[in-house]
């Protein structure tokens, strides 16, 4: 069966969320709720909540990044102090903990920030080709888009629901 995508543009978040609620209540059998996407000019957790709970795994990246940054930082510095950066210490420790902790602290933050940004790009699906997706420039201005991917029959029903909520415009395409 042909799979299609439809993007409906709404004037505001209220209309978009009303359309989403009706879509959910319509209980279309072929519609996977994970194929429903909101496209908006600002973030709106209340409307996003209509979509249900969706995971945000960035925190795990942050944790791993900070731990890796801190531990590799300390190990790297300690190893270099013990080997090729060794200096005459006059009885003081070759690997001094207090100053190394200062550097470890900086490396922890460095690792945390870098891996968080990497995690953000992975989790948000960036970089992404705009040309290969349904998009309208009004989304970056002041309109809220709801995009649904499903079979042709469900898309007809989706279009009817969108129209009942005063959709401003619609774009439709066959998924390749």
């Amino acid at each position: 069966m042909t799979t299609k995508r439809i993007l409906g543009l709404f004037n505001d978040f209220d209309q978009a969320s009303a359309a989403l609620r009706d879509l959910r209540e319509a209980n279309l059998p072929a519609l996977d709720w994970n194929d429903v996407t909101i496209k908006s000019p600002i973030e709106h957790p209340d409307v996003e909540s209509v979509l249900g709970v969706r995971s945000i795994p960035i925190r795990y990246y942050t944790l791993v990044g900070a731990l890796l940054g801190g531990s590799l930082g300390f190990l790297g510095i300690a190893t270099s102090q013990g080997n090729f950066f060794s200096q005459l210490k006059g009885g003081k420790p070759i690997i001094p903990f207090p100053p190394d902790f200062v550097l470890t602290y900086e490396m922890l933050i460095l690792g945390g920030v870098y891996i968080t940004v990497l995690g953000f790009l992975i989790c948000a699906g960036l970089p992404h080709r705009v040309k290969g997706d349904l998009y309208h420039v009004a989304v970056s201005e002041d309109q809220v888009g709801v995009m649904v991917r499903s079979d042709a029959h469900s898309i007809t029903e989706v279009r009817r629901i969108f129209e009942s909520h005063k959709v401003l415009s619609m774009q439709e395409e066959v998924c390749t």
């Binding site: 996407t37 909101i38 496209k39 908006s40 000019p41 600002i42 973030e43 709106h44 957790p45 996003e48 979509l51 969706r54 945000i56 960035i58 925190r59 942050t62 510095i77 270099s80 102090q81 090729f84 950066f85 060794s86 200096q87 001094p96 100053p99 190394d100 200062v102 550097l103 602290y105 900086e106 490396m107 933050i109 460095l110 945390g112 920030v113 870098y114 968080t116 940004v117 995690g119 953000f120 790009l121 989790c123 948000a124 699906g125 960036l126 970089p127 992404h128 080709r129 705009v130 997706d133 998009y135 420039v137 989304v139 970056s140 201005e141 002041d142 888009g145 995009m147």
Partner: protein, 456 residues
């Protein structure tokens, strides 16, 4: 209260259309006032003066700067600390105010973040410049080598290099990640080379719920990392002094004193740039007087913290048992640099009291002058930390009360302001200096609060 007064009291008008926000901010990238070019060319000329002085110093050697034993740091390291300090305001406005949900920061945080990045880049130049033989910077880099010149991991100077690198790269990432949704707006409205440029920078952002959800968390997490990082950077810069045995530097309160000074000079710089951008890019509707008022009050509060820590430093030295440190303090107040020292105290601790008068806070000319004076005071503070201690140290036979920087040092310091100004003005022409999506959020939530005050 009449509607006009009420509008003047608001951080932003709730009925401003989102499309209008896009138009106004995008227009700033295309058609700024003529002042923009005057400022840019002025900054370029200042920068060229700095380059000429640096070229002369490079050619003739560090002697032309007038620096010699015991005055080995001069204006270069004083200005280095000044620029590091300036960088802290971006973190304050972006990260701290973001975490405490102070939404009035939204129209002004972007340029404060840019200020952070360019201040750090300017500060970095002075590390190389103060060496005289700038190529010898490689001695400071920790990598396995055959020179037998190992970096000392126990030295705060090495921590400094690491902290500044971490802060600079994290600040650039924070600035970039926060600007991605705005780059997408630029992409959707630009033509020609600008479209290609913003298309690359926006990474294909389409404002999907998945993107926003992850963006929200990533931005918050980076903000949380940046706050302790900013504190550590200036604490470590303070340790460059406090961990030495020099009189006037070996003081426990130096790290918080430096952090407070950093926030103070940064806030004053934000006021200066706020007024400049407001006029140059016609941002009167976004960089409003109530936001300036809040920034001024914040500056006053930080000025008082700085004043308190300054007095703590003086009283610790005065009542302490370190006689040499006490003599250095007395020399600061009565010696060859007394005029600068008293000017620093007056500009840093007395001038901020003008900020308690609402009438003065509402006057842009007064605020511009006050912000410049505050930063002059903060620059003098850094100079008064460095030079008097070197010129009047432990041993009388090392004293040099005649030291004064030559025109070469002044020229390079002057040029650094040009370098910063040039980069900043270039940034404002390429990247929206007002965050469009965050201003939309601010307008949206305030409108919602007006309609449903109880829910809000």
């Amino acid at each position: 209260m009449n509607p006009i007064t009420q509008a003047k009291e608001k951080d932003i008008l709730e009925d401003i259309a989102w499309a209008q926000i896009n138009r106004d901010v995008l227009a700033s990238l295309e058609q700024p006032r003529g002042t923009y070019w005057a400022l840019f060319l002025g900054a370029l000329c200042m920068f060229l003066v700095g380059v000429a002085c640096e070229a002369y110093q490079y050619d003739r050697g560090l002697g032309v700067s007038g620096m010699n034993n015991p005055d080995v740091w001069g204006l270069y390291i004083a200005t280095f600390i000044f620029w590091i300090g300036m960088s802290h305001s971006g973190t304050l406005l972006s990260a701290i105010l973001h975490i405490i949900h102070a939404d009035w920061r939204k129209p002004i945080y972007r340029f404060a973040e840019a200020m952070t990045t360019f201040s750090l880049m300017t500060a970095g130049l002075f590390v190389a410049v103060h060496l005289g033989r700038i190529w010898e910077i490689y001695y400071a880099l920790p990598y396995p080598n055959e020179r037998w010149a190992w970096p000392n991991f126990q030295s705060p100077l090495l921590w400094d290099a690491m902290a500044i690198f971490t802060y600079l790269s994290s600040s650039i990432l924070f600035l970039y990640v926060g600007a991605i949704p705005d780059f997408a707006i630029c992409r959707d409205n630009a033509t020609g080379w600008r479209k290609t440029f913003y298309d690359k920078l926006s990474l294909g952002w389409m404002g999907t719920d998945r993107q926003w959800r992850n963006f929200r968390v990533a931005y918050l997490v980076i903000a949380c990392f940046l706050i302790p990082l900013a504190v550590s950077v200036h604490s470590i810069v303070a340790s460059d002094f406090a961990m030495s045995q020099q009189p006037g530097w070996h003081i426990t309160s130096f790290p918080p004193y430096f952090v407070a000074g950093a926030l103070y000079s940064g806030c004053a710089a934000i006021i200066t740039l706020f007024i400049m951008l407001r006029y140059t890019f016609r941002f009167e509707e976004y960089m409003t007087m109530p936001i300036l008022d809040k920034t001024a009050r914040l500056t006053f509060a930080i000025a008082m913290v700085w004043t308190y820590l300054n007095l703590i430093e003086y009283s610790t030295v005065w009542y302490g048992a370190d006689e040499v440190a006490k003599q250095t303090l007395i020399n600061r107040a009565t010696g060859p640099y007394a005029g600068y020292w008293w000017a620093m105290n007056f500009l840093g601790s007395v001038v901020p009291f003008t900020l308690i008068f609402k009438k003065l806070r509402s006057n842009l000319t007064v605020m511009m002058i006050v912000s410049l004076l505050l930063n002059l005071g903060m620059w003098l503070e850094r100079w008064m930390i460095v030079t008097p201690t070197f010129s009047h140290g432990f041993y009388p036979w090392t004293w040099d009360h005649t030291f004064f920087p030559t025109w070469v040092q002044w020229g390079i310091v002057f040029g650094s302001f040009g370098w910063f100004g040039m980069l900043f003005m270039l940034f404002c022409k390429l990247v929206p200096s007002v965050s469009m999506y965050e201003v939309k959020e601010m307008v949206y939530h305030r409108k919602l609060a007006k309609i449903h005050p109880r829910e809000a």
